[in-house]
């Protein structure tokens, strides 16, 4: 069965060379989710597509799909490229890798597309990328059905900002005695409550959020570590 789609809003997440002159694109599109597309002849010197087929460039893509890989038939810019610079750019790569790794191909995720766009705009405007990344991770987890339990603790009691909790991704927040060892992520009630309302301005809350989202994401990423994380660590060292 072959389907053809016309001028869908989309972003390129990643591209790599394919055959002699083509590109293999991982695309995140509105309505179709993540799709794999072949851009035939996009690496020839006469190709007008190559300049457009860059990450963080809002696009309108047309393609025909038959089986798993589609064939790109038309490309148009849907606006100016989001000019991410420096750390924001590296953060953008991280967001892209999360999507490539966590989304299944052709799973539509209609709610996620606007979240992605907002995240890129947020990275472009924010002075500090971390809160933007944490908000994206929280949304992503929620939309994938792995949302964090931030309403109540595992026994159904209200979270107490003064208490400490052991957050386990599969159970939720388990109250932790002051001397107890956490099996999951040891985190304060205050940070959990701040996360619920997405108040990530406090540096401590932001650090806690990072540990928590990482613990929640890791089981779904499989055995291979995220490549952008390792590269980002090296990139930050030079600063």
């Amino acid at each position: 069965m072959s389907t053809s789609l016309s001028l869908l809003p989309a972003f390129v997440l990643h591209s790599r060379p394919y055959r002699d002159t083509s590109l293999l694109l991982e695309v995140f599109s509105a309505g179709q989710g993540r799709v794999g597309l072949v851009a035939r002849g996009a690496r020839t010197s006469r190709s007008r597509q190559r300049g457009l087929l860059q990450p963080f460039q809002p696009l309108l893509l047309s393609w025909s799909a038959r089986g798993e890989l589609g064939t790109l038939t038309a490309v148009e810019a849907a606006g100016a490229p989001l000019s991410l610079r420096g750390h924001a750019l590296y953060s953008g790569f991280y967001v892209n890798e999360l999507l490539v790794r966590l989304l299944h191909r052709n799973d539509p995720h209609p709610e996620l597309y606007p979240v992605y766009g907002e995240t890129l705009t947020g990275l472009m405007q924010a002075s500090e990328p971390e809160p933007v990344l944490r908000r994206f991770e929280l949304r992503l987890l929620e939309l994938l059905g792995y949302g964090l339990q931030l309403e109540r603790d595992c026994a159904g009691a209200e979270l107490d900002p003064e208490s400490r909790y052991d957050y386990r991704p599969e159970e939720g927040a388990v109250p932790l005695a002051p001397t107890g060892q956490a099996r999951g992520v040891a985190i304060s009630g205050h940070s959990l409550l701040a996360l619920r309302s997405e108040c990530l301005d406090d540096a401590q809350v932001c650090r806690d959020a990072r540990r928590l989202t990482r613990a929640a994401l890791d089981p779904h990423l499989g055995a291979a570590p995220l490549k952008t994380r390792a590269v980002l660590r090296q990139l930050v060292k030079v600063r």
Partner: protein
């Protein structure tokens, strides 16, 4: 296949070249066997020698059979200028069309976080060591104007800044003889952002 095993092997081997499919490979193989066996011998010898002996220049990492390449060892090049490019082909492009008189450093790729290619994988510690020698006063970042090329340029810029070395980025803009109407939006917006005083 209807040809003998040795011919089939030759055809298959020729296909490792870019743009060579089964049809062209077959034409090349028959051309060599029917009309130009000497040419074939020369090609074979040159290939073997090149593949065995060509390595990377100690200083700039471009392809060369010498320890230090021709450009790096030439007296009279300005050693305070260092142009960083992605590939040996880029060195040729800059050499042929600009009057650049400094030296080069070839990255052999670009930072590509999603492919796991970071500063270590690119061997940027070698570039850092070069900058630490104190000879370089300006580093010209001539990586490709792609998102990955920009990420690479940014990182290299930070490396230079940390050492008090001037870092410049090549301009991107409207090609000569081009018409604004037909230029893609990204290039045009870059050209506008990088406009300069007349």
């Amino acid at each position: 296949m209807s040809v003998s095993p040795l011919i089939a092997q030759l055809i298959e081997a020729l296909r490792c070249l870019p743009g060579v499919g089964p049809k062209s490979a077959q034409r090349m193989a028959f051309q060599i066997l029917e009309r130009d066996r000497d040419g074939g011998r020369r090609l074979a010898a040159a290939l073997v020698e090149a593949v065995e002996r060509i390595g990377h220049c100690r200083d700039c990492r471009t392809l060369t059979e010498a320890e230090v390449c021709v450009l790096c060892s030439r007296a009279g090049r300005d050693r305070s200028l260092l142009c960083v490019v992605e590939s040996p082909a880029d060195v040729q492009a800059v050499e042929q069309s600009t009057g650049f008189q400094g030296l080069y450093f070839v990255l052999m790729g670009h930072l590509s976080p999603l492919d796991g290619i970071g500063p270590e994988e690119l061997g940027l510690d070698q570039l850092a060591a070069r900058l630490d020698q104190g000879e370089v006063r300006e580093m010209i970042l001539a990586t490709n104007p792609t998102v990955e090329g920009e990420a690479t340029a940014h990182y290299l810029g930070e490396m230079a800044r940390a050492r008090g070395i001037r870092a410049t980025r090549i301009a991107h803009g409207v090609p000569l003889g081009g018409e604004l109407e037909y230029i893609d939006g990204g290039t045009l917006s870059h050209a506008f952002a990088g406009r300069r005083e007349l």
